[in-house]
Every structure is written in C-alpha cells, then in structure tokens.
Point group: C6
C-alpha cells in the first residue's frame, strides 16, 4: 500500500479528524520507509513496545492539533470569519 | 475495550478537558495496538518506568493544548466571535 | 495524594502560571500511575537522571504555553476582545 | 545533493503541503550533516528502525502544522483578511 | 540558588526573550530537582552528552515560542489590538 | 565562537527564516555548553548518529514554526493589521 493522499483537512466530526491524524502520522512513516514489506517486518517490534506506542500517540497528537485547528475545533456555532 | 469515540472537544470545565486529553492520548495508543490483551501485558512496564510516564504526560500536554484552545481556555467572559 | 483538580487556567501572574504548568505535568503522570507509593519509589530515579529532568521540563514547557495563551501572556493592557 | 531551498510555504493542496513538510524535515538533517555520503551510510539504520521512523514522522508533523497554518488549512472559503 | 521567579514574559528584544526562554527551561528542571548540590553533580553528564544538549535546546525552543508570541514577535509596528 | 545574537525574527524569505531557525537551535546548545572546544569534540558523535540528527531537525522545526509565524508565513499579501 503506497502512502494515502491527504485531500483535505476538513472533516465532519472530531472522530473523523482523529482518524485523519492517525493517517497523517502513518504517512510520515511511509514516505521515509516506502517498502510495505519492511514496514510489515517492523510492526511487531513497535506495536508491542510501550515507548514506541507512546511516541506514535505523540505524533498523532501533533497532527490532531493541526486538524482540530483546521476545523475550528468542530465548534457548533459559526465563527464570524466564515 | 475498543478505543473510545471523541464526540466533541467542548467540555464544561478544565478538569473535564484534562480527562478528555488523557482519553485522546490513550486513543492514540489503542489505534496502533488494538489488542486489549497486549496492552494489558505492556501496562506494568510503562506505568513503573518514570521516562515512559513522563512521555505519556507529554502526549497529554499536547492534547490538553488542543482541548484548551477549543474551549477558548474556559475563560469566563464571552468572546466577541460567539 | 490523588491528582489535583484544575479549576481554571487563569492566574494572576506568570509565576503562578508556571506553578500551574508544573501541576498539570504532574497530573499527567498521576493519572497514568495513580499509586502514590509507586511514584515515591520512582522519584529518586528520575530526579537524579538529567535526561528525565530535561523531559519533565519539556512537558512543563508545553503546559506553560497553554497557560500563557489562556492568560493572554499576562500582558498589561486590556485586549480588545474582553 | 545539497539541501533544497524553501521558496514559499504556500502550496495548492494539502498533499503538496505534506511533501513540503517532508522536505523541510530532511533539510533540518542536511544542514547538520551536509555530506551526502555520510547520510547515505546512515539511511539503512534509521529507515529500518521503527523508533527512528516515528521520530521522523514527528518532525514532519511539526512542519506540517506550520505549512498548514501558512495555507490557512487550505479552507475553501476566502478568509476576511485577504 | 533557588529557581528564579518569572515576573513578565515581555522583553525589549528577541535576545532578551531567548535568555528568558533559557531561564524557563532551567526553572522546569529546578522545580523537579530543587537541590543545587545534586544538579551540580549532574551537570557534567548532560553538558557533554550531545543528545542531552539537543533535548535542552528543544525545551528552550518551546519556551521561546511562548515568549515570542507574548511579545508579538517583537515586530516593529504597533498591532491594532494595543 | 560565542553564541550568536538574535536581533530580529523578521526575514526576507522562508529560506532565510530557516537559516535563522538553525541558528536558534544551535544557540540553545551553545548556552548550555559554552565551550567551543567541548562542542567540537561532541560534533562527530551526533552528526553521524541518525537519531541525533532527527532530534536536531525537530528543534529546528519548532523554531521554524516561531519564525514563520513572526513573518506571517511570508504571505505575499499585506495582512490587515499592518
């Protein structure tokens, strides 16, 4: 699987925004290690290493911050600048 | 337990916002390691490792920044753009 | 000692804001390792490890960024949106 | 290959913005280790180390945050300040 | 030396702002390890470890971001909201 | 070489802004380890260690975020608040 394209940062819900952040974090790995075969070999190592999991969660958190800002935090009211 | 859904970033209080940040940090781990069984095995390792605990606190801090911004820092006054 | 509650991000001074950031960083550890007994055992390890201390300082820095923004950086003048 | 120049942070799409973030992350490595020969030697090590890959993804995430903000998150509507 | 107090985030110049960021990074260490004696023992270890130095530089960078925002990036012109 | 002074965060181009971010990252190291002699000894170690290089790139990324914001992302149009 090649790295997914990011078409828009706008999502309908925070839940979809979180999924986008996860995708962006994976994309950052995929561009550096494009071989799916190699990534498959590495997966058991980091997915059972608590520190790796925490670091993945950190990358997701930074992307989620970006996505949340892009969506004006999915606030219910219309901001004045729309 | 599957990863919790995030329905909204808006909370009534900073304390609830912090709890949401904790949930988001856990969610970032859960999406990468969906097996509750594996996560249960890893827990004693990271919950007694000071550096892991500090790194978890770092992830929570980034998410709390997002949640706090979403809630306009729970300021008492009504911002002009509401 | 259970983790302290965060009632407000607003503080009178930068110094108090920094203390709040420190409390938030500790809170992020406490929610993951609620046992005060365990945390007491871990303390000598990280408080004498320079890299752990630097990482704690990093978590505080992220929270201080949030608290400083919440307080409009404690600027002396009244911002237009109050 | 010397480090690429960054001419503008403005891109047409989020996908191009992500590519720019990747380039900026590489540029940060290139300025510190300008020798292409040395970097080529190091590549197999970090591209097969899951923790290195996650850390690269983290650097990309920070740059993507900057690029996304520069592009007003590629929102479809024209912001009032243009 | 007890940890220095932070009285204001406002500085006259970027250079003074950077010095403040350095002080805040040190303060984050001092609150966790208040003993000057212990910190003096640790200093040779981290000040000759390149990875520790890079991590210190990272903490300073986060604080400098906060201080720079507080000072409106020391731009020459008067912002409209003053 | 003592650490360089930062006179302004404003630069003419993104490329110059990136160079400033690199200088700020180095400055964060220099204030902690002022001895040029020691830093020269450490250089071969971190400049051939991929993880150190990635971490340096991370510090540059945070500073570039600050510099880019200071320059309003070098957008071509004049923002309303000038």
């Amino acid at each position: 699987m090649p790295s997914q394209s990011v078409h828009s940062l706008i999502t309908q819900t925070p839940e979809e925004g979180f999924a986008l952040a996860v995708m962006l974090a994976q994309k950052g790995v995929t561009v550096t290690q494009p071989s799916e075969e190699v990534r498959k070999v590495l997966r058991p190592a980091y997915s059972t290493n608590p520190d790796s999991l925490i670091n993945v969660s950190q990358v997701i958190a930074v992307h989620f911050q970006t996505v949340a800002a892009a969506n004006n935090y999915w606030r219910q009211w219309t901001p004045y600048y729309q």
